[in-house]
């Protein structure tokens, strides 16, 4: 019987503390967005070097104030001509994964992003070696490798920065470090794989510079700090716009992730 009383009292204490402390928190409204973007470096690269034609698009959706699911799709036509070989490849690729924003919501306001993305990549391509030569003791030999198809798989880590420069328009860049899982080639290894890059190194590097159109679809209130009750009773607030718990109908306190009628809540 005593245990039942203890249990009952504990439940009451938890409920009481939950409701009493819910008024002692600052929150910030973060807009969740669908993002559609294009890579600007592809056309710039093509202007500087006609041997690499690439186009890449980007679509993403915020899951919460930190995580965004992303899908990049692109096409690349690459030609490399050296004194002893020529290599051509063209193909399409997809990169899917998540972006993690390392900036705290109060600073990011849904407009700034400094973080890293993790992606799985898939590339479907054709490659050919129209000619190559090899010289040794017996003389110079010329040969070629016909068109081969392949499907490559890779992982990508892409740290970067993005900032909103106009309302709902973001620009930013990311550097990519890619690790090839499989080139998909049966015999002659490809030099370059669309979406992945140079296969000669342990890691392939790349860079994107995106301009992104953001379409807000939902707002969530994120708890950014916990105040003492005494502070609240004094009725002060440095930033009135951050006191949005009434409109968002918050009802949690001690969990890191809580739900409200207007969406997700997280505490920082």
């Amino acid at each position: 019987m005593r245990k039942i009383y203890e249990y009952f009292i504990s439940i009451l204490l938890i409920i009481f503390s939950t409701f009493s402390s819910s008024h002692a928190q600052d929150t910030v409204l973060i807009p969740l967005k669908i993002k559609v973007g294009v890579d600007l470096l592809g056309p710039v690269n093509y202007y500087l070097n006609k041997d690499i034609l690439s186009a890449e698009g980007y679509i993403a959706a915020d899951l919460n104030e930190k995580l965004t699911i992303t899908l990049n799709a692109g096409y690349l036509d690459y030609k490399n001509s050296e004194y002893n070989f020529e290599y051509n490849t063209k193909g399409s690729y997809l990169r899917a994964g998540v972006d993690l924003n390392l900036i705290k919501p109060k600073k990011s306001q849904g407009k700034y992003w400094v973080g890293a993305g993790l992606r799985y990549g898939l590339s479907v391509y054709n490659s050919e070696v129209p000619f190559f030569s090899k010289e040794n003791y017996w003389g110079k030999t010329y040969s070629s490798v016909g068109t081969k198809s392949g499907m490559a798989h890779f992982f990508e880590l892409s740290p970067g920065v993005r900032a909103e420069v106009l309302k709902n328009f973001t620009i930013g860049w990311s550097v990519s470090l890619r690790k090839l899982i499989s080139s998909g080639a049966n015999d002659v290894k490809p030099i370059y794989i669309p979406g992945y890059g140079n296969t000669g190194k342990t890691l392939s590097t790349g860079m994107n510079y995106f301009i992104v159109w953001n379409i807000p679809f939902k707002k969530i209130s994120v708890i950014i700090k916990k105040e003492t009750k005494e502070t609240e009773e004094e009725g002060e607030s440095d930033n009135p716009q951050n006191n949005t718990e009434d409109s968002s109908g918050s009802w949690g306190s001690d969990q890191n992730f809580q739900r409200s009628s207007s969406g997700n809540k997280s505490m920082y």
Binding site: V114, Y137, K201
Partner: protein, 155 residues
């Protein structure tokens, strides 16, 4: 907005890494040599000839090895324009002829080095004279840039 120091550091480091990876020099082995080890026919132990001369058939003026000592292993390039080639091998002053048949296939070394040919040796096509050579054994048919013995010559 103040960009956190750690994120800035990561971005700069990544950029430097990107720049540091653009090395265009070829530093890899580009020739797939036939690698031959020499064995004493009596002791069956590795024994480099006191004198070794090797050249291709009809290429007597262009020798791969010319009266050289302590050659172990000998590295012989194959003719990728044909499916066979013949060497004259003179061990300690006694000349023999060795004829090999093989298939060729292209292999990418790297973007910096380009392509080379690897070969597959046909096991039953080894033809040689036995003036100084006692016997020859194929230890690995696949001839690549890897440091792997392909033939053993017992003399």
């Amino acid at each position: 907005m103040k960009i956190p120091f750690l994120a800035t550091f990561i971005c700069i480091l990544s950029g430097l890494l990107l720049l540091s990876c653009n090395d265009d020099s070829c530093i890899d082995e580009t020739e797939a040599y036939l690698k031959i080890s020499f064995y004493n026919n009596t002791s069956l132990k590795l024994a480099a000839p006191d004198s070794l001369t090797v050249y291709g058939l009809n290429k007597e003026t262009d020798k791969l090895y010319k009266n050289e000592t302590n050659v172990q292993p000998a590295l012989l390039p194959l003719n990728a324009a044909a499916d066979n080639c013949t060497y004259i091998i003179r061990i300690n002053g006694i000349a023999d002829t060795l004829r090999l048949s093989y298939s060729n296939y292209p292999h990418l070394i790297s973007k910096e080095c380009g392509y080379t040919f690897f070969h597959d040796l046909f096991s039953d096509s080894l033809v040689y004279t036995t003036a100084g050579i006692d016997s020859i054994k194929i230890t690995k048919n696949s001839i690549t840039t890897a440091n792997e013995e392909n033939l053993r010559i017992f003399y």
